[in-house]
């Protein structure tokens, strides 16, 4: 194991941020800590980095217990949501910071910074100041800076949270490729389930200071351990005692005994997908995700009465 956080508890006054949490991250993997705000995911990451101290529990990195160590002795690369760029330094000096602290020879620093800036596609901007960069560029600089010290683990705290949707998607894909090249053990904190599913090979879902489930993106989506995971990772509707995802609902024009009658409120075209928003006899709302072709075939339109039937559902005891 590259990172092991064992039985971590952290309180802020009366608020329990982490409640006896244990999580392990395999060497070379890319793990996402996924949860709503206040679930404790950032606190857990900061405890691993040493930026926050746990009230109880221990942190082991590459087999070494680093619990009492300050962040500078942990060898972790940390990327902040709001970049934490050194505003008074150029891009080059930002990236070189960790190497200068380690008193590496000048030629080595110049060479390494050059290669890192190339890796994050900022070669031409070495002499700029952070204020002259876009948000996406600043965050790439933040990544290069963290990678410069050749960290044992790379920790990213909502790294793309302050960026707009398009840059977010771009950087996400780029991070995945970067990880495939460097194989640095990476943990990314995010509240965006799509981001977690997209980028990670292991997802740890958190809520209220606890880990709800750890598994591959596919397993947390398809075999959620509980109601929280079912509804937080992807959309889900509750039908009686069971939960069903919008794409696991079949729409028919005729009833067949197992179906329920609903009225179409709205048909939303999202490109390949079509979302049909429905309301049933007692006013409960649900939506169906279907294909454009299917929606056209059934000639779905608002105010129409149709019938839905789950093709697949999940029940929790």
């Amino acid at each position: 194991m590259s990172i092991a956080a064992l039985r971590i508890t952290k309180r802020f006054d009366d608020f329990v941020a982490l409640d006896d949490v244990s999580v392990e991250v395999a060497k070379g993997s890319l793990t996402a800590l996924l949860g709503p705000s206040g679930s404790g995911k950032s606190t857990l990451l900061r405890i691993v980095a040493g930026l926050e101290s746990a009230d109880a529990g221990s942190v082991v990195i590459d087999g070494v217990d680093v619990t009492g160590r300050p962040p500078q002795d942990r060898g972790v690369g940390f990327v902040f949501q709001h970049y934490a760029a050194f505003k008074h330094m150029t891009v080059h000096d930002n990236v070189a910071f960790g190497l200068k602290i380690r008193k590496r020879p000048k030629a080595e620093i110049a060479d390494r910074v050059h290669r890192l800036l190339k890796l994050v596609q900022l070669e031409g901007l070495a002499k700029r100041y952070p204020s002259q960069l876009s948000g996406g560029q600043r965050q790439r600089m933040g990544l290069a800076r963290a990678l410069a010290i050749d960290p044992a683990v790379l920790l990213l705290d909502e790294p793309f949270g302050a960026l707009d949707a398009r840059v977010r998607a771009e950087l996400r894909e780029w991070l995945r490729r970067l990880h495939d090249e460097t194989h640095t053990t990476t943990v990314i904190v995010t509240h965006d389930q799509e981001e977690a599913m997209d980028v990670a090979d292991q997802v740890a879902v958190m809520s209220n200071g606890r880990i709800e489930q750890v598994g591959s993106p596919r397993s947390v989506y398809e075999e959620p351990a509980n109601e929280f995971v079912m509804t937080f990772v992807g959309q889900a509707h509750r039908l009686g005692d069971t939960f069903v995802r919008p794409h696991d609902l079949e729409v028919t024009l005729e009833p067949n005994g197992a179906t329920r009658e609903v009225m179409i409120e709205r048909v939303v075209h999202l490109g390949f997908d079509v979302r049909v928003e429905l309301v049933d006899g007692v006013g409960e709302r649900l939506s169906v995700q279907t294909t454009r072709d299917q929606a056209e075939l059934l000639e779905l339109a608002p105010r129409q009465i149709v019938y839905v039937r789950p093709t697949r559902h999940t029940t929790f005891s």
Binding site: V76, F86, F97, I101, A146
Partner: protein, 263 residues
């Protein structure tokens, strides 16, 4: 029209309050340049300038170091009583310098709690140490007041990033914190220096005002004015040097300061 009206009011106000008195003084200095020059170059005046320079330098150094420490405590410290510290730092701004001077005499004078020094030949009152103490007292808030908001604004993330990159607390302070607050420090230093050079009331009480020994430049101006016997050129001349220094410092600030460094 209203725009121009407003400008006239603002300019008129500035002229009347700031520019006219200074201009008048410059005018009078120019009228008797020889007399002014003789007063400026008199040995006692040179000694007064030297004393002011010495006192100002000490006050600036002490209040810069302690100002930064106080600001760090107020913004970052989790010690009890930092709210109290924050409020207390402003005391010299609201307290009359005369009271400061009187308090220092009471404390360090031969009968004061710290009168031991005075009684044993280590003169504090009516000597340079008390002038330094009085000046440090009245200039205490400036660096703190400039640095506190800047420290609040920069937050701690950059320092945290520096720590994760291997920097110790001391390295993070020198390489990240101090460069980030440098313009606030410079501004605080300028205000401290200006106030130290110009301080009169507190110094007047504690210094003893002995020409050539414990007389600062501002005391010298007052002296030259009191004992002018109708010849004001010496007072104008020395005052002109002090005013010119202040204006030069302000201009230097404007030139040195990079665009957008403040606000």
């Amino acid at each position: 029209m209203g725009r121009y009206g407003l400008r006239v009011v603002a300019l008129g106000y500035l002229t009347l309050i700031l520019i006219a008195p200074l201009a008048m003084m410059v005018w009078r200095t120019a009228e008797d340049l020889d007399g002014a020059w003789a007063a400026i170059t008199a040995p006692d005046t040179i000694a007064a300038f030297e004393l002011t320079l010495k006192v100002t330098t000490i006050a600036v150094v002490v209040n810069t170091v302690f100002g930064i420490i106080c600001a760090l405590l107020i913004v970052r410290g989790n010690v009890p009583g930092r709210g109290f510290l924050n409020a207390f730092v402003d005391l010299p701004l609201s307290l009359s310098p005369v009271i400061v001077g009187l308090a220092l005499i009471t404390l360090y004078g031969a009968n004061g709690w710290l009168g031991w020094f005075q009684r044993h030949g280590h003169e504090i009152v009516f000597a340079t140490p008390s002038i330094v103490l009085a000046t440090i007292f009245v200039t205490l808030p400036f660096v703190v007041r400039e640095v506190v908001p800047t420290l609040r604004e920069i937050g701690t993330e950059q320092e945290q990033a520096a720590h994760t990159l291997g920097a110790s607390g001391w390295q993070a302070f020198w390489r990240i914190t101090l460069p980030s607050i440098r313009w606030a420090v410079v501004y605080g230093v300028v205000l401290t220096a200006a106030r130290a050079i110009g301080e009169y009331g507190a110094v007047a009480l504690v210094s003893g005002n002995i020409a050539g020994e414990t007389q600062t430049a501002t005391l010298r101006v007052e002296d030259a004015y009191q004992f002018s016997y109708g010849n004001y050129a010496p007072a104008y001349g020395i005052a002109f040097v002090l005013a010119a220094t202040a204006i030069l410092v302000l201009v230097a600030m404007l030139v040195l300061q990079p665009k957008g460094a403040r606000h």
